[in-house]
């Protein structure tokens, strides 16, 4: 009954994209509309003839921006193939030609002609000094570019790539394009910025001068002076990596291999880093150990000592980061420790090894790659952390904060920021590379999906006691820190006036009910609603990009798949501060001119959090048997229909997890955000940091507490819902890692 699609001469998808191209060219405003993406004022304000709002076709009609006219050729070309069959070589050739020409021309003109005319001198001398200028791409240009991209992918598919599968080829093309535009392009732009001299020329010596700066590589701390930021960061990250791994292992062992009764409470620890904005730990530490901190005061009175500022610097940052990232190591190591097949340990025991020997000779060696993995994660997180060093760093300079001060401080030195970012990127990418290339092939975790009914043996006694003491001690400390956060939010003025008050909450979140409705009079509402809105827009997009990528990675094979995977996971290793700097360098000039808008925040969240969605997707997709897709294909569904009707419904829990996770991460993020916020779009985290810098701790902590509870509610609600969306037998095996 099936009619092969290769014989058809009508192509609905093709027609759609041809139409989209023409609509983008003839109907929508070509350039960025000043008032923002959601404002449609332009419709009534001179459209379609006003130069600012006109579509490309009208601009050319009025003799303006004539360099857009060659686009008419690639727009018209695909009309020629409408009557042809897909297998006709002309079909694919014309589409590829049209897509390449259109997309290429769009990019070429976008980069050559900027706000002040030609961006490159040689172009100016070639064409003479004509007054050409244009702004960033708007609706029209974006839709046109998208149309050209998908015309190109349809052409490539028709040539037989990936069995001629239009959906898969388009998805690959789409992901590559957006990752290039929003990860590789800004990073490349930043690399170039490191070589720019003050008067705009390129020079290697500038780079070296900044690179070998003493503030970066100085070793002064060995003889009492200050060390460079690079050494500080490196040293801190290694320490944090080791300590968090050790603590994480202790927690994991207590949870999986001890008779400890309150394991569930310990597991709840893993949710903390997800819902806590990173710098909040730093704030709580100040309340405990700062100059007027509870513990400091108590000890000072007890031993009659003068309180010191020991917390501000290396010790404080180290403690804060250890508190913040131990749960991450714990999360990784639970999986590793549980993943060691019990039957291996049972085999060792039947071979007459006692518990300690089993642990030492079998369990621990099998966990080793996992331990290295946890170390590298702690290393990367510490390197990238921005909030804690900002709050607690004092004179202890680390790369991430130095980058920030190079950009926002009095020095405003883009080149220096770029150089610092390159150094930071080098460290994190090395760790990332090591993790993927060296550990990727060395996983001993032995869960095969086959029934493995053994039980993990308990830890040997000699190990159990110290491990329990360390883990429980640290858990209590964590609990104390979090209690401090809540308590601190209701204290009038910490260390000076310790009376209880809700004053800070009122200042932040007061509302007035008036006749016109509710008035949000609190100081925090603005940034709060912005944060929620931006996070809510970013979450579904992040999940979508992540899941499509995961689908391509698990279910399709194509040339260059490894590079594709590396590229998509790369943004995980790029610290937020680096993303922040590179985005303002890349996106404040045409063709993509979005600094100061909400769009740039949304985009930065999508690409910061995409690896989370990808990993969630990969984890649950590899639980779905491939024969499900294959049977759908042999039943006549194409790959898009299979994706939509079989894979997506089965992935519902993973989708929800990815949604919530990216939402929550968007709310707690600070490092990239702080560069990208503007007066109009301020985010909760950057607002709080601002309060901290003004020494307004009460408000900052009250706001943070509120955020923690909001996110706790979101995560809790998701756990409830995910618990219920278990479909059939197969799904009961899939876990969602939240």
């Amino acid at each position: 009954m099936r009619v092969s699609t290769t014989d058809k001469t009508s192509h609905p998808v093709l027609i759609f994209w041809i139409l989209a191209g023409w609509v983008g060219y003839c109907l929508l405003p070509w350039y960025m509309v000043e008032d923002g993406l959601w404002s449609f004022e332009w419709l009534f304000d001179g459209y379609p003839f006003d130069e600012d709002y006109a579509p490309a076709a009208f601009l050319i009609g009025q003799g303006e921006k004539i360099w857009l006219s060659p686009l008419l050729i690639p727009l018209a070309l695909p009309l020629l193939v409408l009557g042809r069959v897909k297998s006709d070589p002309v079909y694919s050739r014309i589409l590829i030609l049209s897509g390449t020409l259109g997309f290429g021309w769009l990019i070429a003109q976008g980069f050559s002609i900027g706000i002040r005319g030609f961006n490159y001198d040689w172009l100016g001398s070639l064409f003479g000094d004509i007054r050409l200028r244009q702004f960033g791409m708007g609706y029209g240009a974006m839709i046109c570019a998208t149309a050209f991209l998908f015309l190109l992918t349809q052409g490539i598919a028709a040539r037989g790539a990936i069995n001629g599968d239009v959906f898969v080829v388009s998805a690959i093309g789409g992901v590559i394009t957006i990752v290039t535009a929003f990860v590789f392009f800004p990073i490349a732009k930043m690399l170039f910025a490191a070589f720019v001299t003050e008067d705009g020329a390129y020079s290697i010596s500038v780079f070296f001068a900044k690179f070998f700066d003493d503030r970066l590589w100085g070793l002064g701390c060995l003889w009492g002076a200050r060390c460079g930021a690079a050494w500080n960061s490196l040293f801190l990250a290694i320490m944090v990596g080791f300590i968090t791994t050790a603590l994480g292992l202790a927690f994991a062992l207590v949870v999986t291999r001890s008779g400890f009764r309150y394991k569930r409470a310990l597991r709840a620890l893993t949710v903390l880093p997800i819902i806590t904005p990173p710098f909040v730990i730093g704030l709580a530490l100040i309340l405990l150990f700062g100059l007027s901190g509870t513990v400091t005061q108590f000890v000072a009175e007890l031993f009659d000592l003068t309180p010191t500022r020991w917390l501000y610097g290396m010790p404080g940052v180290l403690i804060a980061q250890t508190l913040a990232f131990t749960p991450i190591a714990f999360l990784v190591l639970i999986g590793v420790v549980e993943g060691v097949s019990p039957s291996m340990e049972e085999a060792a025991q039947t071979l007459r090894a006692n518990r300690w020997q089993t642990f030492k000779t079998v369990s621990l060696p099998l966990m080793r790659p996992g331990l290295a993995n946890a170390f590298l994660l702690g290393f990367i997180e510490s390197m990238a952390d921005f909030g804690n060093p900002l709050v607690l760093g004092g004179n202890f300079d680390v790369l991430s904060t130095e980058i920030f001060f190079a950009i926002v401080g009095a020095q405003y030195d883009q080149g220096r920021a770029a150089v610092l970012a390159i150094v930071l990127l080098f460290f994190t990418l090395s760790a990332f590379y090591a993790q993927r290339m060296w550990l990727g092939k060395k996983s001993y975790t032995t869960v095969t999906g086959k029934g493995d009914s053994g039980v993990h043996p308990l830890m040997p006694k000699g190990l159990a006691i110290p491990v329990m003491v360390v883990a429980l001690g640290w858990a209590l400390f964590t609990a104390a820190v979090y209690a401090m956060i809540i308590y601190g939010s209701v204290v009038e003025l910490w260390g000076v006036n310790n009376s209880l008050t809700f004053k800070h909450y009122v200042t932040a979140f007061s509302v007035r009910f008036e006749e016109e409705g509710i008035r949000w009079t609190g100081a925090a509402w603005d940034s709060f609603w912005t944060t929620i809105t931006i996070a809510a827009i970013a979450a579904p997009l992040t999940a979508a990009v992540g899941l499509v990528t995961a689908y391509l990675l698990t279910r399709q094979s194509f040339a260059g798949k490894n590079a594709f995977e590396f590229g998509t996971m790369l943004s995980f290793a790029i610290p937020g501060t680096v993303i922040g700097v590179s985005y303002i360098l890349a996106f404040n000039v045409p063709p993509i001119e979005i600094t100061g808008t909400g769009v740039i925040l949304v985009i930065s969240f999508i690409f910061r959090n995409m690896p989370v969605g990808v990993r969630a997707g990969i984890a649950s997709m590899s639980q779905l048997d491939r024969s499900l897709d294959e049977s759908s294909l042999t039943l006549g569904a194409n790959s898009w229909q299979t994706f939509r009707r079989v894979i997506l419904p089965l992935l519902r829990p993973a989708i929800l997890a990815a949604l919530v996770y990216s939402f929550v991460r968007a709310m707690t993020a600070i490092s990239a955000v702080i560069f990208l916020v503007s007066a109009k779009y301020d985010m909760a985290t950057s607002y709080i940091i601002g309060r901290v810098e003004n020494n307004d701790y009460g408000l900052a902590i009250a706001y943070s507490t509120t955020l923690i509870f909001v996110m706790l509610a979101v995560v809790g609600a998701m756990q409830l819902i995910v618990g219920r969306t278990q479909i059939g037998r197969r799904m009961s095996q899939s876990r969602t890692n939240v």
Binding site: S631, L633, Q641
Partner: protein, 353 residues
């Protein structure tokens, strides 16, 4: 509403499949499956039989060669566009859809209106004996029922070719016989072209019109079950299809189609299969060994096992070791007994090697 057949032949012309750089899963095979026939691909694991099946489905693309279904060249066509459906080893029922939705799934992509698709799906369920199960989830069915849903789902599309990938391997032994008979009955009633993969030779003998024995990415022999069983081409096929005792012998003389062979003085006449005189190998099925016929090769009973319906003996002698069965369970031979081992008049074959 009845299910029709659009059975079409399948043709492989010099098809190869290479995975990665140099892993040859299928090496230059030619294969012809007649319309309306059930053909089994049989072989040990790793012989390329599943890859061959998946190339018919379009789930793997041939590296070289040509694949035709009916008159149409489908070599480059992806699974979606081929008129082929497949029953998977794991059944691959969609766990989030009911039985009816599962069976209707393919119909909705074939241009049927909903009511039409529904009545066709119900007819399919009826055919496999699952009337009234349509609103259940796959997880609420037993293994055998799931299997039948998978068959119904593939059948209702009235494909040109229906493929089975080891469909019985997840069923328990008793159910296997039943299901395999059901499959064969449906195939014969509807006149479907079926390609069936299995590694169980008994299953292959029971269901097939024709068996293709594969070894090391190539076809070892192709023929009806009888041909393969009675006249295997080589040691591999002889041993793989049913058990065979391979014995060295000497061809004394050839007279037309018949040859006289000799093992340790014992002579036997059988078809020559074009072999010249000289040393050769003879394959004898365990049931075709005649113990204590008076004439034969001297041997000793090494082991005797009672398995209910018959006796199984291991015999040793100068020729090595053979395996024989005997229907006489009432007066079994004791281990250590000296016997003479002869061949039945029909059955033993010379292996052309």
């Amino acid at each position: 509403m009845t299910i029709q057949s659009k059975a079409a032949p399948v043709r492989f012309d010099g098809v190869s499949k290479v995975f990665g750089k140099d892993v040859r899963a299928v090496d230059n095979i030619d294969l012809h499956v007649d319309a309306g026939k059930l053909v089994t691909l049989l072989g040990p694991s790793g012989c390329g039989k599943t890859t061959t099946l998946r190339m018919i489905a379009g789930l793997e693309m041939a590296t070289s060669g040509k694949i035709l279904i009916g008159d149409r060249d489908v070599t480059k066509l992806p699974a979606t566009d081929r008129d082929v459906s497949m029953v998977f080893q794991s059944y691959a029922l969609f766990p989030h859809m009911t039985v009816l939705e599962n069976v209707m799934y393919g119909l909705t992509f074939s241009g049927f209106a909903k009511p039409e698709a529904r009545s066709r799906a119900l007819a399919g369920l009826d055919l496999v004996g699952l009337k009234g199960f349509d609103s259940r989830l796959p997880s609420e069915l037993s293994g055998g029922q799931q299997q039948r849903v998978a068959v119904a789902r593939a059948l209702v599309l009235e494909p040109q070719v229906l493929l089975f990938d080891e469909p019985l391997s997840n069923l328990d032994a008793k159910l296997r016989r039943q299901v395999r008979e059901d499959i064969r009955a449906i195939q014969k009633d509807l006149g479907l072209t079926v390609v069936y993969v299995t590694h169980d030779q008994e299953e292959a003998l029971a269901v097939s019109d024709e068996i293709v024995v594969m070894r090391n990415a190539a076809i070892a022999q192709m023929g009806t079950p009888r041909q393969l069983y009675d006249a295997p081409n080589d040691r591999f096929v002889a041993d793989f299809i049913g058990e065979a005792n391979l014995l060295p012998c000497e061809i004394l003389s050839v007279d037309g189609d018949m040859a006289i062979i000799e093992i340790e003085g014992y002579r036997h006449t059988l078809p020559s299969r074009g072999l010249p005189t000289g040393p050769a190998t003879i394959a004898v099925r365990p049931s075709r060994l005649v113990i204590d016929s008076g004439d034969g090769v001297p041997a000793t009973v090494a082991k005797a096992t009672y398995v209910g319906v018959r006796m199984e003996y291991t015999l040793t002698g100068k020729f090595g070791q053979v395996f024989a069965v005997h229907d006489n369970v009432d007066t079994p031979l004791e281990p250590g007994t000296e016997v003479r081992m002869g061949f039945a008049a029909k059955g033993p074959v010379l292996l052309p090697e």
